[in-house]
């Protein structure tokens, strides 16, 4: 069990939760969070936003009952963290771009912290948030509110691209990658409903070119070309 240090609202329905402790985890991995008893039944998979020797942070959006309960947490409250789970982002090579959409910016901040230089593209539907935090980790921050952030990125300028955002945005990243000269290695982080988070329940199935994969253990990070989008 971890102890909540802070739980701050950073935008409409978006919160940054900080939990005390020295937790493990690499870029793009997630924890299963739970701050309630039996209901709701399932824990919530939330990616690592940031961490250091003393605390770990999670950026999340309130979308349902579980995240509503997370938003009600106050300092000194306790929370259960299981993880880290998932494969995460690989160590990138060459010139790197990070593309985040909405709450999908969450895992990219920790990536940016690990890199000496990345170009960061963040897209938001209504309002931008945490720009100042991202400005501290890059000199190249591009923000788009209300448009299509993927359109702003020249894929042929990069060796590695890492993206996280809504399903349709990840599909757009894949499409743009396939239409590019495919010089860049492009990685997309997918979100999905999960029950166990450890690969046992098979509810977070992702269709890939070589069959079904699990978002929790085979992902959440996939190479852009391997995922088969159905809708």
């Amino acid at each position: 069990m971890g102890k909540v240090v802070s739980n701050v609202q950073v935008a409409e329905q978006v919160y940054l939760l900080r939990v005390e402790g020295n937790y493990e985890g690499s870029m793009g991995q997630f924890y299963m969070l739970r701050a309630w008893g039996h209901y709701p039944l399932l824990s919530r998979p939330i990616s690592i936003f940031n961490k250091d020797d003393e605390s770990i942070e999670f950026l999340y959006q309130v979308v349902g009952e579980g995240t509503t309960l997370l938003a009600s947490l106050r300092p000194e409250d306790t929370i259960q963290l299981d993880g880290p789970y998932g494969n995460g982002f690989p160590i990138p090579e060459g010139r790197v771009a990070l593309i985040g959409g909405g709450i999908g910016i969450a895992p990219l901040y920790y990536v940016a912290q690990q890199m000496t230089h990345t170009d960061i593209y963040l897209g938001f539907s209504k309002e931008a948030y945490l720009q100042d935090a991202f400005r501290e980790v890059t000199s190249s921050l591009h923000i788009n509110v209300g448009g299509y952030i993927v359109d702003d990125v020249d894929f042929e300028q990069y060796d590695t691209i890492m993206a996280c955002g809504p399903h349709m945005m990840m599909r757009a990243v894949q499409t743009k990658y396939l239409q590019s000269n495919r010089q860049a290695k492009v990685y997309i982080s997918l979100e999905n409903r999960m029950a166990c988070g450890i690969g046992a329940c098979l509810v977070c199935s992702v269709s890939c070119l070589d069959g079904r994969k699990k978002a929790c253990t085979d992902g959440p990070v996939f190479e852009a070309q391997e995922v088969t989008f159905h809708d």
């Binding site: 299963m32 209901y39 709701p40 450890i198």
Partner: protein, 310 residues
């Protein structure tokens, strides 16, 4: 001195806590979290003769006190299981149950025969990987087979009889709460040589997205599990226990030691724990500790003292 051991079909379980099919993989994943040899047993991911990709679209949806799943028996197939999972199963110090599903009668029979052949081969080497087969005639998430066999006793009889002929391994039949006559179905399983009855499987349910005006699931319906179904499962175990002489493996919404005690009092010999594995990744450890504590508090030395007392 508290004795947690239980017996089903001549197999000794070190405690009554068995992990339910579909919630525990083949044990490998949870084995990284705690020592699964502490468990009474595990029922592996539901197997079909041929690999199955499972259902498209959304596969899980939470409901009040329950969980709808539409995984659709995604699995690697019996031959893959025997080749790639059983070497690890051989090393597990717990009862290992292979859960067998199917689309056709022949699928069930072929699957059972392959498991039996593998069992025979390992036995000649002094080894064993599968202790029991759990025949699943009740999965609500596959269009063919599955629940179609689980509703009508006459259709189920043919499957149970054929699989019984195909394997000498202890056989438990997992029944559907949707059976037209559950007691009749259970009696049939006993008549056809089933060694035990597992009940209940998930209950067919539904969730509608009112804005899309459609079911959230591609298959329209999905299987409801979790605490929401416990009262129904408990009643069914109690009803069936009054009419059969073979043991019952009870399951449905167990999340505590007292839930286990209820199932034992209703007549179950051992229980299976499913959805609770998702709520608490260390569910097995938690329940074993809780069971010991409860039995100490209530001066129960052995579960035989309370089994079927209602």
């Amino acid at each position: 001195m508290i004795d947690l051991t239980c017996s089903v079909a001549g197999i000794s379980f070190k405690n009554p806590i068995v992990m339910a099919s579909g919630t525990f993989g083949f044990g490998r994943e949870y084995g990284k979290i705690y020592d699964i040899s502490k468990l009474g047993g595990i029922s592996g991911k539901g197997l079909t003769l041929h690999p199955k990709a499972g259902n498209e679209g959304l596969r899980v949806y939470e409901t009040p006190s329950g969980m709808l799943n539409s995984v659709g028996l995604e699995n690697p197939g019996v031959p893959y299981f025997l080749e790639h999972e059983c070497s690890e199963w051989e090393t597990l110090d717990t009862v290992r149950i292979a859960n067998l599903g199917g689309n056709t009668l022949d699928d069930y029979v072929q699957g059972a025969m392959l498991i039996q052949q593998d069992h025979d081969r390992r036995q000649t080497l002094g080894r064993q990987a599968v202790d029991m087969i759990e025949l699943n005639i009740s999965c609500p998430n596959v269009k063919e087979g599955g629940i179609a066999y689980g509703v009508k006793t006459s259709a189920a009889r043919e499957v149970v009889r054929s699989v019984r002929e195909a394997t000498k391994l202890p056989l438990t039949v997992k029944l559907s709460p949707s059976a037209e006559d559950l007691v009749e179905m259970a009696v049939m399983c006993q008549e056809e040589g089933g060694d035990a009855i597992s009940l209940i499987n998930t209950i067919s349910g539904m969730k509608i997205d009112v804005r899309r005006r459609a079911s959230v699931f591609n298959n329209m319906y999905a299987g409801l599990s979790g605490p929401a179904i416990k009262p129904i499962a408990l009643r069914m175990v109690h009803q069936v226990a009054k009419h059969v002489d073979i043991p019952i493996i009870g399951m449905g919404g167990i999340t505590s030691a007292t839930d286990i005690i209820e199932f034992i009092m209703a007549g179950a010999s051992v229980v299976q724990v499913g959805t609770y594995n998702f709520m608490n990744l260390r569910a097995g450890e938690h329940l074993i500790d809780g069971l010991i504590q409860f039995m100490q508090e209530e001066n129960i030395n052995n579960l035989d003292e309370i089994r079927g007392i209602l």
